[in-house]
């Protein structure tokens, strides 16, 4: 795609978000994304954005895909995460399964899929193993996001490292109080399936690699969250007064929002203006963007005073989502070590 096309794509996603997500923002937070929005997102090609066209997707390039994530996250981080789950988690893990029907279903929004990632998020194999016995795959997975899914990719088997594509017998277990991404459910997932495919014994490695390759996607969502929350704060402080002055006229308010805005602009250009980011730069972007999202959303909430604490003003969700993004996709030790190794060109930061 050429620059003009990226610009048009950005405007289209922005318009879509404002038209279909902004007005339903509270509904999404309270009751989930819902079939209507999923259908609309599918019609735009977002749900299969990166999946090849011959498998029912849009086959868009990386930059275009990041533009979609960023502009959805500006309004609904849950919608952005749904796109990420389909395209950057589910698809890479099942692309060689030969199950084109399921992939097409996911790309077209007909099949709701997710990936249970607890082992790679936590960095260890502990509970919730899935075991195979008598032709059935059974067990429980914890902390699964988008757990309303009917198709799941998860690790299990004797070693706990075998990858499975599970196509039936999935139900939600104990649901977790959902800090963020309330448009998607977070809960345990109970599996008792007789329709599943093994995707190989190297599952843990593959899942780890997939997780390691999300740096730019997570950055795009984090930047979107930052922009969405900061824009709300900037608009609010232009109209709210205390002590007979507009909030924007107070130095601490104006300076902090302005500084955050510069950081967003810096990171946006880091993310979008270069086509040749190396592994180290990608990771740096993730560190900086996730950190910025947490700081931006906190300041945005704070600038709204008491109203920031209420769902109706649409800013507290960003505060929750920024931390949820960090909890689910930023693995403190692993990512720090990856970064240190890139900087030191070898093993570093392990004692």
């Amino acid at each position: 795609m050429i620059n003009e096309e990226y610009r048009i794509l950005g405007d289209t996603v922005k318009e879509f978000s404002e038209k279909n997500l902004e007005g339903s923002s509270l509904k999404i937070e309270r009751g989930g994304l819902g079939d209507d929005i999923i259908t609309k997102m599918a019609a735009q090609g977002f749900l299969g954005a990166k999946i090849p066209a011959d498998l029912g997707g849009s086959g868009i390039d990386e930059k275009g895909y990041l533009i979609i994530l960023e502009n959805l996250a500006r309004v609904s981080p849950s919608a952005a995460l749904k796109v990420l789950i389909n395209n950057s988690l589910f698809y890479p893990l099942v692309s060689e399964s030969g199950d084109t029907g399921t992939i097409e279903g996911v790309a077209g929004g007909k099949v709701n899929a997710t990936v249970a990632m607890e082992e790679v998020q936590e960095g260890y194999l502990e509970s919730g193993k899935l075991s195979v016995s008598g032709g059935r795959l059974t067990g429980t997975k914890i902390g699964v996001i988008n757990s309303d899914a009917t198709v799941v990719v998860a690790l299990g088997g004797e070693s706990g490292k075998e990858l499975f594509l599970i196509k039936n017998g999935i139900s939600k277990g104990r649901s977790n109080p959902s800090l963020g991404f309330r448009g998607l459910t977070l809960s345990q997932l109970v599996v008792d399936s007789d329709d599943y495919i093994s995707l190989g014994s190297e599952g843990l490695d593959r899942m780890t690699k997939v997780m390691d390759s999300l740096d730019l996607e997570i950055s795009a969502i984090a930047i979107g969250i930052s922009e969405g929350s900061l824009n709300k704060a900037i608009e609010y402080t232009k109209v709210r007064s205390t002590f007979e002055h507009l909030l924007k006229d107070y130095e601490p308010v104006a300076f902090s929002l302005a500084h955050l805005n510069s950081e967003i602009e810096g990171l946006r250009s880091f993310l979008f203006d270069r086509d040749d980011l190396n592994a180290k730069e990608r990771l740096e972007l993730k560190f900086l963007s996730v950190d910025l999202a947490k700081r931006c959303t906190k300041q945005a909430l704070q600038s709204h005073g008491g109203y920031g604490y209420l769902q109706d003003f649409g800013v507290e969700k960003f505060y929750r989502d920024a931390m949820a993004l960090s909890s689910l996709f930023f693995r403190r030790e692993r990512d720090n070590r990856r970064l240190a190794e890139e900087v030191f060109q070898g093993k570093a930061g392990f004692i």
């Binding site: 209420l310 949820a324 689910l328 720090n336």
Partner: protein
């Protein structure tokens, strides 16, 4: 200078903690948060158990701290039913004390304090609600916003404008007691809060609400001073909320490290994890010292507004910092545990009873005033 509490208070703390662990169960904490419901039963039990005892201010402070450490939403709900009583205690008549305070202190009545309005909270002098004298009555019109206990309170101490500002915005304000059953009084529960969802928060609408003139608390026109005096007291208790939440987050970090280390996960106790733990512990300890210092001045009837505001600001920041770091350390374990609730609950402390920005303004203005710079 002795940093240890006397044995009697150490016993009180123990008793509070035992009560909290017994009554503020994880199931109830999760339920009241999910349902956004006020836990009146827990409040009543806290009174019955002697946990809420206004005659023992250090005990009260500890109750807030220890219960918030177990669960902020339930802890605040259980200890907030007397919110605002100092206004009557310090400025009210004997009759008002008899009629209201005795019953609030016994747990029979619930009260609230209403300052904030839809148009503003930080700017106390900017309130618009009016109380107009008509014979032996005041007629109140206006709206109050974000009022804790608003929908469940029996009466509310309210800041109202009784005469025009006449050039000085903080003049012409008064504090009055409003019966929540009065005609023209409506409380609309505010739902969808980020945290402290067990606490009851409401918007109050006052449409020609009549109150007898005897309900004026203290002299007419001194309301601004009453509220500022009150904040110098209540902020110490908010600091205790912060201290409790910060300590609660630290407790959970320690539990996580122990559990994960026992499972053989070396990184849970890596040097970088230890540094995070140490940083949180240091903030908690500083919050503890500041809170107790502010309380010590207050309980000796010589409150220090600078120390109080520093304590409130720092303890609020410590709570938010500790909850944030605990979430970062524990990853998906944290997000699927009660830590996520601590993270949501902690943020209120930087907003209510003076935002962090307002506290900083107070600190700086008082310092420069003392210094003669202003």
């Amino acid at each position: 200078m002795d940093f240890d509490f006397p044995e009697e208070l150490a016993e009180t703390r123990k008793k509070i903690r035992e009560f909290g662990l017994r009554e503020l169960t994880p199931e109830l904490a999760e339920k009241y948060d999910r349902e956004e419901k006020y836990p009146n039963e827990i409040r009543k039990k806290a009174f019955e158990a002697g946990i809420i005892n206004y005659e023992n201010p250090w005990g009260m402070l500890m109750a807030i701290e220890e219960l918030c450490r177990i669960d902020p939403g339930l802890g605040i709900s259980a200890t907030v039913s007397l919110f605002g009583e100092e206004v009557i205690m310090l400025f009210g008549t004997e009759e008002q004390k008899q009629k209201y305070l005795t019953r609030v202190n016994s747990g029979e009545l619930i009260m609230g304090l209403a300052v904030t309005e839809p148009g503003g909270g930080s700017d106390v002098a900017g309130i618009k609600t009016t109380a107009t004298r008509s014979g032996d009555k005041f007629i109140i019109n206006g709206a109050k916003m974000f009022i804790t206990n608003g929908q469940i309170a029996d009466f509310i101490v309210m800041l109202v404008r009784t005469s025009p500002p006449n050039g000085k915005r903080h003049h012409g304000l008064s504090t009055v007691i409003v019966d929540t059953k009065a005609k023209g009084f409506t409380a609309n529960k505010l739902e969808g809060k980020l945290g402290v969802r067990a606490t009851n928060t409401a918007e109050l609408v006052l449409n020609n609400v009549e109150i007898p003139v005897e309900n004026l608390v203290g002299p007419e026109g001194k309301g601004f001073y009453h509220i500022m005096t009150f904040f110098n007291i209540s902020r110490v208790y908010v600091a205790a909320q912060g201290l409790g939440i910060a300590q609660g987050a630290l407790d959970r970090m320690l539990q996580y490290i122990k559990k994960a280390s026992a499972l053989g996960i070396a990184e849970a106790n890596s040097e970088s994890s230890q540094f995070i733990l140490a940083e949180v512990a240091a903030k908690v300890e500083a919050a503890r010292l500041l809170t107790y210092k502010a309380a010590s001045f207050l309980f000796q009837f010589k409150p220090d507004p600078i120390i109080t505001s520093i304590a409130k600001w720092h303890a609020a920041e410590a709570a938010v910092f500790a909850a944030e770091k605990a979430m970062e350390l524990t990853g998906t374990t944290g997000i699927t545990s009660d830590l996520e609730r601590f993270y949501r609950d902690a943020k209120i402390l930087e907003i209510w009873e003076g935002t962090s920005e307002v506290e900083k303004l107070i600190i700086a203005r008082m310092l420069t005033k003392e210094d003669g710079t202003q």
